[in-house]
């Protein structure tokens, strides 16, 4: 049987401000926006995932 899956999986977070994230996912702390763009890009490609902007200075890398 084929299944239509709507599972999403938050793999990790990327932020310049570690005080804004807590909890059980890996968090990568970066220096600035430019590094955030680069690191989240690498993570998206490595994990076959998409980086989403939370609007709080945190990017979440989510597998869809």
């Amino acid at each position: 049987m084929t299944k239509v899956k709507f599972e999403k999986n938050v793999v990790c977070g990327v932020t310049t401000d570690p005080s804004r994230v807590r909890g059980g996912i890996p968090i990568l702390v970066v220096d600035d926006e430019e590094e955030m763009e680069r690191v989240s890009g690498l993570l998206s490609r490595i994990l076959d995932a998409v980086a989403h902007d939370m609007g709080t200075g945190v990017y979440l890398v989510v597998q869809h």
Binding site: S44, D48, A49, V50
Partner: protein
């Protein structure tokens, strides 16, 4: 056996198999695969036509027990549905943009139904040849073929919805098609990629009755599957942001279709979307009889 019986059976079977052949179109959906599945379906068509054609003759010759074979064959045709479904489901697991369960069920159902149609064409032609002779019977066979052809047609997306090309735009990290929100993309590079490769369409149901059709996830999947199948897919496993999406605007019930084809020919894109079949199992007949 009398000669007229033989002519009846032969003409019935021939009309059956010709109908099957003409209903087997290898088109942009690349289904059935050529030549393997093609051969299998022609063989089934011959059997269906033959059994259909024998039935009136068996009745005329008062061989009533022969008619019971009809039931046996009907069971075989149900197997065709299972065969098609199994095959397509197996292939589904490796598709980046799968067909979806509804589309598969629709295809499987159609293959079964066509065999019944052919059986009926065979039976009716053979019966008419028996009653009125070879030439008028054959003429009636042609008419029956045309009836079968019109019965096998289905609604297409253009019959139930307005389809318009639309621009992709970002508001901050949010991707919109027209005013339909599609998704949130954090990275600048991804946003540039989406604007470069992405294509947007809006699909608005013409009637409240058809809103439900577009709501159906199987129908949405069928739309993006057909588009990607013909136009090619820019997406790879590590670029899920290029995966086709169909999302709905809550206020207007308008659908935004986002996808990243290799071929950007606007006329071709619109033609494909217009021809997407309205899946019979996405239509619920909501409101009918009320």
């Amino acid at each position: 056996m009398e000669e007229r019986y033989l002519i009846s059976i032969a003409l019935g079977a021939v009309f059956g198999v010709v109908t099957r052949f003409l209903l087997l179109r290898v088109d942009y959906r690349a289904y059935p695969s050529y030549p393997h599945a093609y051969t299998a379906h022609l063989a089934f068509g011959l059997l269906a036509g033959l059994v259909g054609a024998v039935t009136p003759v068996a009745l005329a010759a008062e061989q009533y027990d022969a008619v019971t074979f009809l039931l046996l064959v009907a069971t075989q045709f149900r197997e065709i549905r299972n065969l098609e479904r199994d095959k397509l489901e197996h292939l589904e697991t490796i598709e980046l943009v799968p067909r979806g369960a509804n589309y598969i069920e629709g295809i499987a159902e159609l293959f079964e139904l066509r065999n019944y149609l052919i059986m009926l064409v065979g039976a009716a032609t053979s019966g008419l040849v028996l009653i009125s002779g070879a030439v008028p019977g054959a003429g009636a066979g042609v008419v029956l073929y045309l009836v079968a052809l019109s019965l096998s047609g289905d609604l297409q997306l253009e019959d139930v919805a307005e389809i318009q090309p639309a621009d992709l735009r970002f508001e901050g990290p949010e991707l919109f098609i027209d005013d339909v929100h599609i998704m949130n993309i954090a990275r600048e590079e991804s946003r540039e990629m989406i604007l470069q490769y992405g294509v947007g369409l809006t699909v608005q149901a013409k009637d409240d009755e058809f809103v439900g059709v577009l709501d159906n996830m199987g129908q949405r999947q069928a739309i993006v599957h057909d588009l990607i199948h013909v136009l090619g897919n820019r997406e790879d496993v590590d670029t899920p942001e290029l995966k086709p999406q169909v999302r709905k605007d809550m206020d207007s019930q308008k659908m935004g279709v986002y996808f990243c084809p290799l071929d950007f020919d606007r006329d071709r894109i619109l033609k494909i979307v217009r021809y997407v079949p309205v899946l019979s199992n996405a239509r619920r007949g909501a409101g009918e009889g009320l």
